[in-house]
C-alpha cells in the first residue's frame, strides 16, 4: 500500500479540480430567480405644448400665434398659371409668287400685310422678343439673276427697321434656284400699331432688283416670309376675356388620419386666400367647388359663402399691377371664417380631404385699360387653412399597436401598474390597453379608465392650473391568473382617448404642459 500513497495524493488533487470544473465551464452568470419585488419606472415624460409640436409636427404644420395659441396650418396652392399658357405664338409664314410679266422694270416694290398667329380675342399692340427667327426663302425660276430686299418698318431693333436683302440665281421651272436668309430676332420689337388695323399684324415691303435683264414673260419667283420659335419678353394691347384657371385639386389633412373615433370641433377655423398676380390685367376668381370629405364618410360637407356676419365674395376680383408696376407682383388677400362662411363646419370634425376648384377669368368686366404681360408673369392662388386649437374635443382616440416581449419568463405573482400625471392641458385623458396573442384571439384588458383629469380653465378656455394625481396614481393590479395569462400574449393595442368637459370650448397654448408618469411593480414568489 505504501507506494500508493503519493498516487492517492495526486488523485485527491484531481478530484478537487473535477468538482469545480462545472463552475468554470459555463456561459456566464444568471440570476436563478427574479427578485421577489421588482419596481421599474417605465415612463417619465414632460409634454409641453411647444415640445409636442416639435415632436409630432414633422411637416411644420403647427405654429404658435402671437398669443401663444397653437395653430394648425395647412398650406396649399389652389391654382396657378404662367404667361405662356395664356399667350403663345406658333410658327407662322406667308408665301406668294411674283410672275415674270409683272416685272416690267427694275427695281419694283411691293407691300404686303402679315398677320401672326395670335390667341383668340387678344389684340396685341406691342411685342418685345426674347428669341425667335425670321426667315426669307426664295425659289427663283427667273431666267435672270437678281436680288430681293425685305423691309419691315414695324419690326425694329434699337430703332432700326428690319431690312434684309437676298441674292438669287438663275432658275428654271424644273430646277429652281433656292436661297434662304435667317435672321435672329433677339432684341427686336414689334409695333403692330403702325399697321391697319393697329394690332396683331404688320406690313412688310418687298423690293425686287434684277442684276442684268428683266425676267422672261413666263418666269416666276416664289417669296416666303415667316417667323418661328418666337418667345416674347413683353406684350401689351387688349387681351380680352381669357379663362386663366379651372384647376381642381385636393388637400390631404394627414394629422387626423390616426383618429379612431371621436371628433374635434374647431371653433375658430379660417381659410386664408393669398393671390399673387404679375399680369397687367384684372382677373375675376370664383370658387366653383370647396368641400370636405370626412374620415369614414362619403357625404361631403359643401362650403357656403355666407355666414352670420356677412358673405364671402364669390366671385371676387384680384388686384393687378398697373403700367408703372411692370414686372412686379401684386397680392390680393382674402379670408373666410365662420362669420362669412360655413368654413368651421367644413373643418370642424376630423376632416381628411379638402376638395377645391377655382375659376379665374381675365378682363371679365371688359376692362378698357391697356393689358400687358411679361414672359415671367404668373397668377397663383395660395390657401392656408388655419385651425387654432380652440374648440371642443369629444373622445378622440389615438391608437397604436405595439409588439412586446416581457423580459421575464416566469409567472409573476403580482403585476401592478401605476399611472399618474400632472396635467396642465385643458383636456382629460383615458387609457385603454388590451393585450392580444399573435392571432388576436386571446386577450386581456390591462386598463380601461381615465388616467388624468383636465386642468382647470378660465372663462376663455385657457388652462390656469394643472390637475395632478402623481401622489395618488391610478393603480391597476393584475390577478395571479391574469399575470399568468399575459406570458402568452405579445401584442398590445393602446387607445389613448382625449376629451374636454362636456360643452366646454378650450384652447391649447404653448405654455400648457403635463408630466406623465408610469411605473410597474412585479412580484415573484
Amino acid at each position: 500500500m505504501k507506494p500508493l500513497k503519493p498516487i492517492l495524493s495526486i488523485l485527491c488533487l484531481s478530484l478537487l479540480f473535477s468538482c469545480v470544473r462545472d463552475y468554470l465551464n459555463t456561459d456566464g452568470p444568471r440570476l436563478s430567480n427574479w427578485p421577489s419585488n421588482l419596481g421599474i419606472p417605465l415612463i417619465d415624460t414632460k409634454l409641453s405644448a411647444s415640445e409636442l409640436v416639435k415632436t409630432v409636427d414633422t411637416e411644420d404644420l403647427l405654429e404658435f400665434d402671437e398669443n401663444g395659441l397653437i395653430v394648425l396650418k395647412y398650406t396649399g396652392e389652389l391654382a396657378s398659371i404662367e404667361a405662356n399658357a395664356i399667350a403663345n405664338f406658333p410658327d407662322t409664314s406667308a408665301a406668294f409668287d411674283v410672275p415674270g410679266f409683272v416685272v416690267v422694270q427694275s427695281p419694283i416694290s411691293l407691300t404686303r400685310p402679315f398677320g401672326g398667329s395670335i390667341p383668340e380675342g387678344m389684340k396685341i399692340e406691342h411685342m418685345s422678343l426674347r428669341s425667335g427667327e425670321a426667315f426669307l426663302k426664295i425659289e427663283s425660276r427667273f431666267s435672270e439673276p437678281g436680288k430681293v430686299n425685305v423691309r419691315i418698318p414695324a419690326l425694329t431693333s434699337s430703332g432700326t427697321a428690319f431690312d434684309e436683302e437676298v441674292d438669287f440665281e438663275v432658275g428654271t421651272s424644273q430646277n429652281p434656284s433656292i436661297h434662304e436668309r435667317v435672321v435672329d430676332l433677339n432684341g427686336y420689337e414689334f409695333d403692330f400699331t403702325l399697321g391697319t388695323p393697329a394690332f396683331n399684324q404688320f406690313d412688310f415691303e418687298i423690293g425686287l432688283t434684277m442684276d442684268n435683264q428683266l425676267p422672261g414673260f413666263l418666269d416666276s419667283i416664289k417669296l416666303e416670309f415667316g417667323y418661328r420659335n418666337l418667345e416674347f419678353i413683353f406684350i401689351d394691347g387688349d387681351f380680352g376675356p381669357q379663362l386663366v384657371s379651372l384647376d381642381q385639386d385636393s388637400i390631404y389633412l394627414d394629422l387626423f388620419s390616426k383618429l379612431i373615433s371621436g371628433d374635434i370641433n374647431f371653433t375658430d377655423a379660417r381659410l386664408d386666400i393669398d393671390i399673387e398676380s404679375s399680369f397687367g390685367f384684372p382677373v375675376d376668381v370664383e370658387f366653383t367647388q370647396l368641400e370636405v370629405l370626412e374620415l369614414g364618410s362619403n357625404q361631403p360637407i359643401v362650403w357656403q359663402a355666407s355666414g352670420p356676419s356677412g358673405s364671402f365674395p364669390n366671385p371676387f376680383t384680384i388686384l393687378n399691377p398697373d403700367v408703372s408696376q411692370v414686372g412686379q407682383t401684386v397680392n390680393t388677400n382674402l379670408f373666410m371664417d365662420r362669420r362669412n362662411s360655413n368654413i368651421d363646419q367644413l373643418v370642424g370634425t376630423k376632416p381628411k380631404w379638402l376638395f377645391h376648384q377655382i375659376r379665374g377669368i381675365a378682363n371679365a368686366d371688359s376692362n378698357t385699360a391697356k393689358d400687358f404681360m411679361m414672359d415671367s408673369s404668373f397668377f397663383k392662388v395660395n390657401t392656408t387653412m388655419i385651425l387654432p386649437l380652440t374648440g371642443e374635443v369629444n373622445s378622440i382616440v389615438l391608437r397604436d399597436t405595439i409588439d412586446f416581449d416581457l423580459p421575464f419568463d416566469e409567472e409573476a405573482s403580482e403585476i401592478a401598474l401605476r399611472i399618474g400625471a400632472d396635467n396642465g392641458f385643458p383636456i382629460e385623458g383615458a387609457l385603454k390597453v388590451v393585450f392580444y396573442d399573435e392571432l388576436f384571439q386571446d386577450s386581456l384588458i390591462l386598463i380601461d379608465e381615465k388616467v388624468f383629469d383636465a386642468a382647470r380653465t378660465n372663462a376663455e378656455g385657457k388652462a390656469v392650473s394643472s390637475s395632478s394625481n402623481l401622489s395618488d396614481p391610478v393603480e391597476v393590479v393584475l390577478s395571479e391568473s391574469q399575470s399568468k395569462q399575459i406570458l402568452n400574449l405579445n401584442k398590445a393595442v393602446v387607445d389613448f382617448s382625449l376629451t374636454t368637459k362636456q360643452g366646454q370650448e378650450v384652447s391649447i397654448f404653448d405654455t400648457d404642459e403635463m408630466r406623465l408618469r408610469m411605473g410597474v411593480k412585479l412580484g415573484f414568489e
Binding site: K2, K5, L16, N25, D27, N37, G39, L47
Partner: protein
C-alpha cells in the same frame, strides 16, 4: 462569458477567509514550511530541491457567511452559472467576505550550511483574490427594490474586490541565535503580473415609492494592470499566458522567530508578506464621474422622435462601452501600488512523546477590506521513519468545525507531502466555507 463566470464565482460565492494550510506550519521537515515560518531549520544536511510545479501546489478558499453551492451553482439545463441570492442573503450580517488563493513553485532549494544556518531560495507563483459582498446588495438582488427596501438608501460601500497575481523570488536565511532562539527572514523580489483592485466605492441606490424612480449616487474607482493576462476572447487564461518577465516591480519581507521554552515546548512568531508591488505596466485607473444617475422612465418624446437615440432595453444589447458611457467612467494610465496580504502567525508545539506532538497555530491575515483569523489544533505522529501523519481541527470566523489532515512520506530521496485544513473541502470545496490543500513532491540529495 467564462471569465464572467469565474469572476462571479470569486465575487459572489463567499469562499472566504482562507488560511493557507495552517498545518503546513507544523510539517517542519518539509522545506516549504519556511514560507510560513522563516525561522525554521530542517534537520539534516541534505540539499532539498522542490521540483517545478509539482513540489508545492496550493489551493485555498474561504467564505465568511455561507458556502458557495448555496449561492452559486451550475445549471445542467442551460450551462449558465446560476446566482441565488435569495438562498443566502439572510445569513449575511453586514457583508460577506471571500478569499481565494493559489500558488505553485517554479523552483525551490534549501540547504543547511551548518547545523545553525539554513539558506533557502524559491521562485513562487501566487494568485490571491479577495473581496466583500455587502448585505444590501444581496438583499436587493433577493428581495428587489420594490419590497422592504423601497424608499431606503441602499449602500454598496463595502462592495470591493482585489485580484493579485505575482511571482516572488525569495532568498531566506534562518539561523540559530542561541540554544533557544532561532531567527529567520526572507527577502523577496516581486514581479507583478496582473492586478485588479477597487480603490473607492460610495455607491448607494434609492427607489422612490410612487413610480419606482431609481437614483444611484456616490462614486467608485478601481485600477487594473495587465488585465489582458487573464482575459481572453473565450474566457480566462491564467497560467496559459504566464509571462517570463514583468516590469511591475515590488519587494517583500518575511520574518520569523522561534523560541524553545524547554525540551518539549517551543513557540514561534512569523510576520509574512510585508511588501508592496508598484504597477505601471498597462495600467488603467477607472473613476466614475457622475453625481447622481437617475432613471425615472423613458421619455415618450424621444420614442416618437425619428432621430432619437433610445436605449435598447434588451439586456443582451448592453456592452461595456454603453455601461461606461452611462456611468461616465473616465480612465487614466497612471501607476499605482498594492500591498501583499500581510499575515501574523503564531504557533506552539508541545512534544507529547518521542514520536507525537500537539501543536496550535493562530494566524491573522489582512486582506484589502478585512482581517481573517483562524486557529488550529493539530496532532502529529511519526508512524514510521518514512511516514508522519496528523490530524487537525481548525476554527475561524468562517467556520468552527474543520477537520484537517497532514502527512509526509519519504520514499528514498523523494518526499511526498499533503496538507489539508479541511478534508471535505479538498474534494468538495463548493460545499463548505473553508478549505485549503497543499501538496508536493520534493527531492533530498
Amino acid at each position: 462569458m467564462r471569465f464572467l463566470a469565474i469572476i462571479s464565482v470569486l465575487l459572489f460565492s463567499k469562499l472566504a477567509y482562507t488560511q493557507g494550510g495552517l498545518g503546513m506550519t507544523l510539517l517542519k521537515d518539509v522545506h516549504q514550511s519556511s514560507y510560513l515560518n522563516p525561522a525554521n531549520i530542517q534537520e539534516g544536511e541534505d540539499l532539498k530541491i522542490g521540483l517545478p510545479i509539482v513540489s508545492n501546489v496550493m489551493f485555498e478558499g474561504s467564505s465568511s457567511e455561507f458556502q458557495i453551492s448555496d449561492f452559486l451553482y451550475p445549471n445542467s439545463d442551460s450551462n449558465y452559472l446560476m446566482i441565488d441570492p435569495q438562498a443566502v442573503y439572510q445569513e449575511v450580517n453586514t457583508k460577506a467576505n471571500f478569499q481565494l488563493g493559489a500558488s505553485y513553485d517554479w523552483l525551490s532549494l534549501s540547504k543547511n550550511l551548518n547545523e545553525n544556518l539554513n539558506l533557502n531560495f524559491a521562485i513562487v507563483e501566487r494568485i490571491n483574490i479577495s473581496g466583500s459582498l455587502p448585505y444590501n446588495l444581496l438583499n436587493l438582488a433577493a428581495t428587489g427594490n420594490a419590497g422592504s427596501l423601497v424608499g431606503d438608501n441602499i449602500g454598496f460601500e463595502s462592495l470591493d474586490a482585489e485580484f493579485l497575481w505575482y511571482r516572488e523570488y525569495r532568498i531566506g536565511l534562518a539561523t540559530k541565535i542561541s540554544d533557544k532562539i532561532n531567527f529567520g527572514g526572507a527577502v523577496k523580489y516581486l514581479q507583478g503580473i496582473s492586478s485588479f483592485q477597487t480603490i473607492s466605492n460610495s455607491l448607494n441606490l434609492k427607489t422612490e415609492e410612487d413610480f419606482f424612480d431609481l437614483s444611484l449616487r456616490g462614486d467608485f474607482s478601481y485600477s487594473t494592470s495587465n488585465m489582458n493576462m487573464i482575459t481572453a476572447d473565450s474566457g480566462i487564461s491564467i497560467f496559459s499566458k504566464t509571462p517570463f518577465w514583468s516590469t511591475n516591480h515590488g519587494v517583500g519581507v518575511d520574518l520569523g522567530l522561534s523560541f524553545k521554552m524547554n525540551e518539549k515546548t517551543d513557540f514561534s512568531l512569523s510576520l509574512l508578506d510585508f511588501g508592496t508591488i508598484n504597477w505601471k505596466n498597462r495600467t488603467q485607473n477607472f473613476e466614475s464621474n457622475f453625481d447622481t444617475l437617475s432613471f425615472s422612465g423613458l421619455n415618450l418624446l424621444e420614442l416618437f422622435s425619428a432621430d432619437s437615440n433610445v436605449a435598447n432595453l434588451d439586456a443582451g444589447s448592453f456592452n461595456t462601452d454603453s455601461v461606461f458611457n452611462l456611468l461616465e467612467i473616465e480612465s487614466s494610465p497612471s501607476s499605482y501600488s498594492t500591498s501583499l496580504p500581510f499575515s501574523i502567525l503564531m504557533s506552539f508545539n508541545y512534544q507529547l512523546s518521542e514520536k507525537s506532538s500537539l501543536s496550535g497555530v493562530l494566524r491573522s491575515r489582512k486582506f484589502q477590506s478585512f482581517w481573517a483569523t483562524a486557529v488550529q489544533i493539530a496532532y502529529l505522529r511519526e508512524v514510521s521513519e518514512s511516514l508522519t501523519i496528523g490530524g487537525s481541527y481548525s476554527a475561524g470566523t468562517n467556520g468552527i468545525f474543520n477537520l484537517g489532515f497532514m502527512g509526509t512520506y519519504d520514499l528514498g530521496p523523494v518526499q511526498v507531502y499533503l496538507v489539508s485544513d479541511n478534508i471535505i473541502g479538498s474534494f468538495l470545496p463548493q460545499n463548505i466555507r473553508f478549505w485549503s490543500t497543499r501538496a508536493g513532491i520534493n527531492l533530498k540529495l
